[in-house]
Symmetry: C2
Subunit: 150 residues, 2 copies
């Protein structure tokens, strides 16, 4: 079962990675694209974190607005990790390209948790937001620990 899952994910990753690189005029654009999407996502995620950690007052509408951006942005950066960009970044570890299945699993986790974060924000309940923020932050950390150089 595990083999089949891995095989399907590998096939999916291969299919998805082909148009990914073709989408960018040059490899540098792919790098800039993923870094840009992650930066925008990080800014909005940080605003939710400020509420979750009590650094700024809880604002239910702002939480939803920010979570909507996070959930949308979470889907974007991965296309920028195109095959021809593996030596263009100082921060991205080469394992991103040698462990495509695992890397994609991290990607899917973030998309999943950020979707839950948006749902939690919409409950207008700070405790729900805190829980979902923590889970989403865990997916950021998990991927950074594995695939980002310090």
């Amino acid at each position: 079962m595990k083999f089949i899952t891995s095989f399907v994910l590998t096939a999916a990753a291969t299919v998805l990675s082909l148009p990914a690189s073709a989408q960018f005029a040059k490899p540098e654009d792919a790098v800039k694209y993923r870094q840009s999407a992650l930066f925008v996502m990080g800014q909005h995620f940080g605003r939710i974190g400020a509420m979750a950690n009590g650094r700024v007052p809880y604002d239910a509408k702002a939480a939803v607005d920010n979570a909507e951006v996070v959930a949308e942005m979470a889907k974007l950066p991965w296309a920028g990790f195109a095959a021809n960009t593996d030596r263009l970044s100082q921060k991205a570890k080469s394992e991103i390209w040698t462990e495509q299945v695992k890397f994609r699993e991290h990607n899917e986790k973030l998309v999943g948790e950020s979707g839950k974060l948006l749902a939690a924000a919409k409950t207008n309940n700070l405790d729900n937001l805190k829980t979902a923020f923590s889970a989403t932050a865990g997916t950021c950390k998990g991927c950074h620990d594995a695939y980002r150089k310090d």
Copy 2:
């Protein structure tokens, strides 16, 4: 009437510009944020342009997917033109900050046209997409001509 409209827009711009700068930890983040959002938007808009201009085959689903990102991203960059960033960019003209009402009108036009672009993409009709792409591109050019240094 025109006076009242301008007054309301000025008041709105003032209200909106206050939290904008407060949202960023430092002015450089605001600049990076707006540049990142505009870059991501430009990448997806360019893919629609490639279809509209016949450089790549028309793909109705890809058009909708890209238009969705454009419409979402169009709402973001303006918060990054915070008051304390007027001297941090080599490309942004100072008129952005001295003509806040007009600048915001350009912003609103882009948000409006990119919303129509998404609606046009969803009709699955290439001619509709071409028309809406051209209108949206016009708002990009209008704002760049007025507020971006060459």
